[in-house]
Symmetry: C2
Subunit: 176 residues, 2 copies
């Protein structure tokens, strides 16, 4: 079975993992730490994603460039999903989906690349680790990491605050 | 004039600075870094807040315990606001409000303790610095740091991502 079930995202400071309509153009010019992608790819055994993200990822069907492992996409309507090599569409409970992804991952990690699936797995206690790369940008609109109106707060460890400090760029250097 | 106009918040990992109805009970048991409050209080000359936060802060009318400096609350309806010692209600443009607060702050900082005022000041280029203490909790609902549907992304400096890693607590240890 897999090493860990990882909820892994680059997120804007204000809590968005994608812009409106799942757009990712806000990430241009935001450099990840050197070696970051390599580290995650080496430990990655399988990806579990959602249908909305899959439908939006027309141009970049696979995460992490030349990683070639199995991708599972959870959808209630596999029959009309755009197929791709190495992608399996699952129409089942999230716990069963993560079980299938863990089995496929062998001794490597499963990465959950969906906010809605991550939320459901968190509620079931099926997320082992949350890795977030906070990007120096305020989006104000888009797809949120964790959207759960009326839900209860979920506490995380370590129980310490992380202090960050930013300066706004001038209005003239804002993104288009 | 004041040293800096500071947008200063403790925020949940998912981008909320208060729970539903401005509740702050989710912050219980979330320890700030030792000396953090003292550092901010020593540099604090005036506070600029919004009416919604003021109305919600019935039990703790003043931020930072025994800090005694001037507080300015921006409101379109000063006539029905609950008065308090050291609190001035302003009914004016946000830029004028920050000018008044800066003058009152002398050579110390103005802290903007309102998401909506902060957003408007950011758009006008009137925020010097953004200090956020990211708390180890997912809220999923409440008052967001930066809510700006249809707006453009705002880029911040330094232009680097901040990596954070968390583990969820067991469901049994979730907050009530």
């Amino acid at each position: 079975m897999s090493a860990k079930v990882l909820w892994h995202f680059t997120m804007s400071l204000d809590g968005f993992v994608a812009g409106p309509n799942h757009s990712m153009d806000w990430m241009e010019g935001l450099p990840p730490r050197p070696d970051l992608v390599r580290e995650y790819v080496e430990a990655l055994g399988a990806v579990l994603g959602g249908r909305a993200g899959w439908d939006a990822a027309i141009d970049e069907a696979r995460p992490y460039g030349d990683w070639r492992g199995p991708i599972f996409v959870l959808t209630h309507h596999p029959e009309d999903a755009r197929p791709a090599d190495g992608v399996t569409f699952l129409n089942c409970d999230v716990a069963e989906a993560v079980r299938i992804a863990r089995e496929a991952a062998g001794d490597k990690n499963v990465e959950v690349l969906s906010p809605t699936i991550g939320r459901q797995l968190l509620e079931r206690g099926l997320i082992d680790q949350i890795d977030i790369h906070i990007a120096p940008v305020l989006l104000g609109d888009g797809i949120r990491l964790y959207d759960n109106p009326g839900g209860k707060p979920i506490r995380l460890q370590p129980n310490a605050t992380v202090d960050v400090r930013y300066h706004p760029l001038d209005a003239t250097t804002r993104l288009p």
